[in-house]
Every structure is written in structure tokens, then in C-alpha cells.
Amino acid sequence: MTTSTGEAIQFWVLGIVAVLGALGTVGMRKAVHSALCLAGTMIVLAVFYLAQGAYFLGIVQIVVYTGAVMMLFLFVVMLVGITAADSLKETIRGQRAAAVLCGIGFGILLIAGIANASLHRFTGLAQANAGGNVEGLARLVFTTYVWAFEITGALLITAAVGAMVLTHRERTERPATQREQSEARVREGRNVTPLPAPGVFARHNAVDVPGLLPDGTPSELTVNQTLRARGQVRDVGGEQERRVRKLEQRSDEYVEGVTEGEGAPEGGRDRSGDNDGANHAEGAAK
């Protein structure tokens, strides 16, 4: 007993996708990417559900899993951020080998088990879904499985409460006022002034663009530390310096073009502090 060819094609195509997604979930270095891969696999599974006449489940799969659960994942990923844990380097000796071994062995056994299971009886969901899949499920849920259903309801509530309890952080002491913070800064003598804002001498003042010190080197202080932690600080130091050089060069040319006269002091004024010594020298020469 087999299924329609269309389904077969769909299976083979999407099946591969699903497997790739799964592998990606396991293999991707960054959690975000893993999450996306997983989402993909889930969608594929949803399609399979639909294809197998489990319409309700298919939809639920998309809505609940890819919709809610995976988003929750992504959310947490953002919250937690990238840590050293993301490296794929193994730390426990022999762990990976054992894992792969067990995995393969288990998989083979599982498949072997399915292989020699007698799966020849194949009654489609034709008349089970006769009254509509959803209605069918509903009938079961509210008759045979009503008790389990209620329990799961309770479970969900409990889970929600539990999550709140876990994540809720009790503030033990009064938050420090701005004044106190500044006083603390003075006391400790580290960057007494407010932190420099990012984006100084910047084409645009995006958060991930570090501010530059007068010599044009980017200051890490100016960037949100999360970004720093993730190493997502945009590398702009070199470019800016180059632009400063260009500027000076052009101004020099302009000074030469104008020759002696009123242009010089502008030039001198224009020149940044490191040329002062030269000015004095010239002054002395006169």
C-alpha cells in the first residue's frame, strides 16, 4: 500500500530539507542560525502533518512552534547573547566520539527496529477524518482525553507561573540615584565625565560605531558593552584616520596655492595642535 506520487515527491524533497535543517541546528556556530534552521525543519514537519491528514496539528505546529516557541528561543538568544559556549570545540575528553557512536548506534537500531516492524496494515485517515479532522480531534479531546486535557491546562498555567517565578528578580536595595552614581565615579576617579557618546566624527551615529579620540583612534568606551562582548563593534578607526589625513593634505595644498599672506594663519589655525612647535619656530625665525 503506498501513497500518491505527489506526496512521495514532496516527501523526498522536503525530507532532505528537514534533515539539512536538523543538521544545521546541530552544526551552526551561532545560536541564532541554529534557531532559524530549526524553524525551517519545523515548518517542513508542519507540511508533512498536513500531508498526512493531520490538518489541525499542521496548523498548530506552524502557529505554536514556529510562531511562538521559536520566537521565544530567538528572544532568549538575544537576551543571553553569544558566549564562549558557542565554540564547537569539545572540552570533555571522548565526549564527542562517544556521542557520535551512541547516536549512530541508536539511529541504526531505531531504523532497524522500524524496518522489521510489520507496517503493512495501512488504513488512511479517510473515514477517521470523515467528520472533519478538527471535529474528530475535538471529540476525542473532550471525551476520552478530557482529563488529560484539563491536566495539561493546569500544567501550562503552572509553567507560566514557574517561568515568572524563575525569571523575576527581587530588587533588594534602593537603586542608586544619579547623584550617588556621579559621586561614586568621583570617588573612584574613573571617567568622571559621562561616557563619550558614540558616533563622533561619524558618518552616522549608530550605536555600533565607536567614537574617535582626537588622534582618530576609536574608543571602546563609547560602545554598548553587549555589542563589545559580541564583538559587533563596527571597525571604523582606520577609515576615519585616512579621511583626516586627506583633509590635512587638501588644506596644505590650499595654503601653498594661496602663497604668503593671510592664508597662513588660517592654515596655522587650521593645523591641529601637533604643529604648534613649528609655528613657534617660524615665529622665532622672524
Binding site: 570533555i92 565526549q95 562517544a98 556521542a99 551512541c102 548506534g105 541508536f106 537500531l109 527496529g113
Partner: protein, 631 residues
């Protein structure tokens, strides 16, 4: 009349209950309550006696079945009583002497704050003893048997604050237990043999049982008798038992309880008659003890211990007689009764002396008391004459008959036993004279007691002397009265049966011989204790004397072999239990601990490695299931 039999036992039991449960509030009246219940049982006894006399000798057996005690399949134990002439005799002796001694004790224990308890115990003893002699089956008899043991334990150890008393009590109970073991095994053998242990069925079927079994039963019963009646080899407790108050020694360790063994043998006559070997054993034990006790009696300076030795010896006579079979049973009992009178009298006398001498017991510190306590002197003297078998007095009638019977057994056995009995009579005369002389004659050897009080000997109060006098009366005339056209014999015959063995020696010859021996004994005693003064401290004495002072080293033997050995055994067992039995277990535990210590390494705490093992396990399980399906 049957319910009365129950009442006979019940009365003192009730008394004991009242006194022991009643508590301190009865302290002032307790002793009278005790006497009352004892007297009640005596009265009942007399009534029953009258009833028996009114019947024809054949119908003189009353039985009353109270209730079924332990019914289990074939094992039917009943609480039932059987009152026949034999029991009756004992009942009268026990209740009679018992009551007298109750009354005596009122005076003797006057200054003891636990007097109520004392009377409670005495009543308890009466009840148990009556149960013993009235039971109609061996198991119930066993109850009484151990009951008297308990009472004796409580009374010997009555002054529990004295370590010696406590030890003596314990010793008595333990030695008795050894005997009791014999009795209980005997009961088991009876049960396996006859399917019952009640007197009637057992005695009825003695005929159809192999002699070997009967001998076994007989010997076991003898063991029990040895324990209770302080016969060799289980006699060692009696001497120490004198730690108890003197009335106790008089009642329990002279008149009644110690004679229970004789009762047992006579009661089981049917069995013994059919087992000559056992009978011979009884005779031998009796004869040996007879001499043993007599020798011990000669050496002791403690008046009570000397009397205790004498008691052993006299019971030896009874056992000997009982062992002789139908010839002797009657005389055994008769001697038992007369002995009950005069020995109780002697003990009460001794008690009265101690009462006057600040509880001094060492005869070497007495002397010349006859003038200070005349009544005691007279009663004690009569008792003395009775026990040495002075012609006409009780002892004469019973003891001569026994010696006669011993000879009548015939053959070498007969001669030996007879000779022993004869010699015994002589020694008896010797040590009793010794006691008499050292206590009442000679010069004063009084010494201040531990607190330094000078003794002021004085006659005991009436309440003590009256019972003594009555007993003295008994010890003078009982034997004679019994022997008037052998009334006692006729009375007991239906129960014990009797056969006149023809003795190889004529009666008058024996009487003469006895008298001769008697005079020899007295003379010898006079020679050594009457003529020259008694040293206040005991001379070292001959080897035999020293041995005799130590109960012929019996105690030393027990101490070395049983006590020391036992201690070592238990100590080593305790050690073994701790090291070997327990050690094995703990060793295993330690091993497991070490192993787990190794395995613990696997627990590196990383969730993932645990997960690996889980997956591996699952894989194995799947594999297993698949294989199972494959099979």
C-alpha cells in the same frame, strides 16, 4: 466437697494477691491478713480431711476439674485437682506447719519494714506448694513446682540489699531450674509415650511401655527431685539458702518445699516400680546425700547451715526410702511428716536464739543459753531428741522403719543401703548433739556484733514460742500416734501400695543397732564438745573437716567449672559475635564502599556525559527488545 479443693489453693493465693497488690496501706495489718488466709486454708484442709475419713478407704480420692488450660490438638492440659490420702497428708503438713510459721513470723519479722511483702510471699508459697501436691497432672504439678521455686527465690533473697542474699536466691533458682529441666523433659517424654501427662492415664498404661522409656522418665524425675530436694549433685543451693529469714528456712527449706522431691518420687511410684534401675538410682542418690549432708552438718559452725546439712541428710533418708519402692513409700512420707515437725521446730528454735543474740549465727559465739531462753531450750531439745531418733519420739518411729526397709531390700544392695542408713543415724546423733552442746551448754562465748552491741539473750515473745511449743509437741508424739496399729500405713496404703519385705535382720536387732550407733554418736559429740570447752575460733581441723566446711568442695567445683567456664564462654562468644558474625557483614559493607569509591570517578558532573550514558543505555535496551523479538 470438690470445689473446696480449689478453695484450698485459692485462699492463700488470694491472700498473696491482696498483700502484694494492696501496697503500703496494708503495712499495718498485712501480717494478720497473711496469717488469716493461711489459717483458712488449714481449716479447709481439716474439713476435707474429715470428709476423707468419713469415706471408705477406696473412695478416698476426690478430683475436681476446674477448666481446660491448654488445649492444642493432642495436647490437653487441664487445671484439675486430685485429693487423695497422699495429697491430704501434705496438705495438712503444709497448711498446719505453714500457719504456725506465719504466726511465728509475726513476731520474728516485727521490725522489718517489708513485713507485708514477706507475708505476701509466704502466702504465695503456700498456694504454690498446695498446687504442687494437689495437681492431677504433671504439667500443673510443674506449675506448682516452679511456683515454690519462685517463692523460695523471693524469700531467700528477701533481704535484697544484702548481696549475699541476692546471690543465694539466684543460685537457688538456677540450680532448681536445672532440676525443672529434668521435669519438663520428663513431661515431654510422657507426652510422646502416653499422649498425655495426667496421672491416671499415665499410671494406667505404664504396663504397655518399654522399660527403657520408663527408666528414662524415672531418671528425669529423679533429676527434678534432686534439684528441689537438694540431693547430690544439685544440693549446693540449700546451704546458701539459709541467707533467708529463719522462718523461711523452717517452712520452705526444712519442712515442706525441699520434700517436694520425695513427693514427686512417691507420687510417680507406678513408674518407678516398673523401672528398677531408676529406683536404684534414687536409692543411691538418697544414700549419698544422706552421708554427704550429715558430714557437712558436722563441720558447720553456722547453726542454720548445720541444720541445713541435717535437712539434706534427712531428705536423703526419705529418698532412700522412696527408692526402695512399695516397702519404703509409706515410711518416706511418714519420716517426711515427722521431719517436718521437728526440723521446723529446730529451725524456729535457732531463729529464736538468733533473735535473742542480735542475729548471731556462729555457734562458737553461743553457749550456755539454756538458762536465758528456757522455752527455746526445751522445744529445741525435744526436736533434737526427735531427730536423733530417741526411742519413743517421732524420729525413732520413722527412721527405724526406713533403716529396716533398707535392709529388707535384700542382697548386697540391701546391706549397703542399710549400713549407710545406720551410719547416717550415728552421724546425725553426733552433729545434732554438737549443735545442742555448742548452743545451750558450755560457757558463754558471746561477742558483740558488728555495731558493737553486747548481746543480751532473752526469751522470745509468746507469739514465737507458742508455735515452737506446738511443733515440739508434734515432734514428740506424731511418730507415735502414726504408729498406733500402723494407722499411717493403713491410711496411705491405698495410694502408695505397701509390701512387707521380710528383712534378713530382725526388727529388734535393727533397733538395738540403731540405739548403739546413736549412743556412740552422742558420746563422741559429748567427748569433743561437752567435756572440753569449745574454742571461740574454729580450729583448722582435719582435711575432711575443712572440706566439709566448704560443702565438700562442691561449690568450688561449681565455681571453677561452671561459673568461670561460663564467663569465659560468654565473653568469647560476645567477642566472636562482634568480630566474626558482625565483622563479616561490616566487611562486605566496607568492600562495597570501596568499590563505589572507584565507580564515583565516572560521575564527572557533566550533564552531557550523563546524557551519553542515557542514550547508550537506551540503545542497549532497544537492541535487547529487538533481539527478544528476533528470538
Amino acid at each position: 466437697m470438690d470445689p473446696l479443693i480449689g478453695a484450698l489453693v485459692g485462699a492463700p493465693l488470694l491472700g498473696a494477691g491482696i498483700l502484694l497488690v494492696g501496697g503500703r496501706r496494708l503495712d499495718r495489718t498485712g501480717h494478720w491478713i497473711g496469717c488469716l488466709w493461711a489459717a483458712v486454708s488449714f481449716v479447709i484442709g481439716v474439713v476435707l480431711f474429715a470428709d476423707l475419713l468419713s469415706r471408705s478407704p477406696a473412695q478416698r480420692t476426690l478430683t475436681s476439674h476446674l477448666f481446660t488450660w491448654v488445649p492444642v490438638a493432642g495436647f490437653q492440659a487441664d487445671v484439675g485437682f486430685q485429693l487423695d490420702q497422699l495429697s491430704m497428708t501434705f496438705v495438712l503438713l503444709i497448711t498446719g506447719v505453714g500457719t504456725l510459721i506465719h504466726i511465728y513470723s509475726v513476731g520474728y519479722m516485727e521490725h522489718d519494714e517489708n513485713r507485708r511483702k514477706f507475708f505476701g510471699y509466704l502466702n504465695l508459697f503456700l498456694a504454690a506448694m498446695l498446687l504442687l501436691v494437689l495437681a492431677d497432672n504433671y504439667l500443673l504439678l510443674y506449675v506448682g513446682w516452679e511456683g515454690v521455686g519462685l517463692a523460695s527465690y523471693l524469700l531467700i533473697g528477701f533481704w535484697q540489699h544484702k548481696p549475699s542474699a541476692a546471690t543465694a536466691a539466684k543460685k537457688a533458682f538456677l540450680v532448681n531450674r536445672v532440676g525443672d529441666m529434668g521435669l519438663s523433659i520428663a513431661i515431654m517424654v510422657m507426652f510422646t509415650t502416653f499422649g498425655s501427662f495426667a496421672f491416671r492415664p499415665v499410671f494406667a498404661h505404664v504396663g504397655d511401655v518399654s522399660q527403657g522409656r520408663l527408666t528414662t522418665i524415672g531418671l528425669l524425675l529423679l533429676l527434678a527431685a534432686c534439684g528441689k530436694s537438694a540431693q547430690v549433685p544439685l544440693q549446693s543451693w540449700l546451704g546458701d539458702a539459709m541467707e533467708g529469714p529463719t522462718p523461711v528456712s523452717a517452712l520452705i527449706h526444712a519442712a515442706t518445699m525441699v520434700t517436694a522431691g520425695v513427693y514427686l518420687v512417691v507420687r510417680s511410684g507406678a513408674i518407678f516400680n516398673a523401672a528398677p534401675t531408676a529406683q536404684l538410682a534414687v536409692c543411691v542418690v538418697g544414700a549419698v546425700t544422706l552421708v554427704f549432708g550429715a558430714i557437712v552438718g558436722c563441720a558447720k559452725d553456722d547453726i542454720k547451715k548445720a541444720l541445713a546439712g541435717s535437712t539434706m541428710s534427712q531428705i536423703g533418708y526419705m529418698m532412700l526410702a522412696a527408692g526402695l519402692g512399695p516397702i519404703g513409700y509409706v515410711f518416706a512420707i511418714m519420716h517426711l511428716v515427722t521431719h517436718g515437725f521437728f526440723k521446723a521446730g529446730l529451725f524456729l528454735g535457732a531463729g529464736s536464739v538468733m533473735h535473742g543474740m542480735n542475729d548471731e549465727v556462729d555457734m562458737r559465739r553461743f553457749g550456755a543459753l539454756r538458762t536465758y531462753m528456757p522455752v527455746t531450750f526445751v522445744t529445741f531439745g525435744l526436736g533434737y531428741l526427735a531427730i536423733i531418733g530417741f526411742p519413743g519420739l517421732s524420729g525413732y518411729w520413722s527412721k527405724d522403719k526406713i533403716i529396716e526397709a533398707a535392709f529388707a531390700k535384700g542382697g548386697t544392695e540391701g546391706w549397703t543401703l542399710g549400713a549407710v542408713a545406720l551410719v547416717g543415724a550415728g552421724i546425725t546423733a553426733f552433729y545434732m548433739t554438737r549443735v545442742m552442746l555448742m548452743t545451750f551448754f558450755g560457757d558463754k562465748r558471746w561477742q558483740p556484733d558488728a555495731e558493737g552491741h553486747e548481746p543480751h539473750p532473752h526469751e522470745s515473745p509468746k507469739i514465737m514460742t507458742i508455735p515452737m511449743s506446738i511443733l515440739a509437741f508434734g515432734s514428740v508424739f506424731a511418730g507415735g500416734l502414726f504408729s498406733i496399729n500402723s494407722a499411717f500405713l493403713k491410711w496411705l496404703q491405698p495410694v502408695t501400695g505397701h509390701s512387707d519385705g521380710h528383712s534378713p535382720v530382725a526388727t529388734w536387732e535393727i533397733t538395738v543397732a540403731t540405739l548403739v550407733v546413736l549412743i556412740l554418736g552422742v558420746g563422741l559429740a559429748w567427748q569433743s564438745y561437752g567435756r572440753q570447752a569449745v574454742p571461740a575460733v574454729a580450729p583448722r581441723g582435719s582435711l575432711l573437716t575443712r572440706a566439709a566446711r566448704r560443702d565438700l568442695l562442691q561449690d568450688d567445683f561449681n565455681h571453677v567449672v561452671l561459673v568461670r567456664g561460663g564467663e569465659h564462654l560468654t565473653r568469647s562468644l560476645v567477642y566472636l559475635d562482634h568480630t566474626v558474625v558482625d565483622g563479616a557483614v561490616n566487611g562486605t559493607a566496607a568492600g562495597v564502599g570501596g568499590l563505589s569509591g572507584r565507580l564515583r570517578r565516572l560521575q564527572n558532573g557533566f550533564v552531557r556525559s550523563y546524557a551519553v550514558s542515557m542514550l547508550g543505555g537506551t540503545a542497549v535496551l532497544v537492541a535487547a527488545t529487538l533481539l527478544m523479538r528476533g528470538v
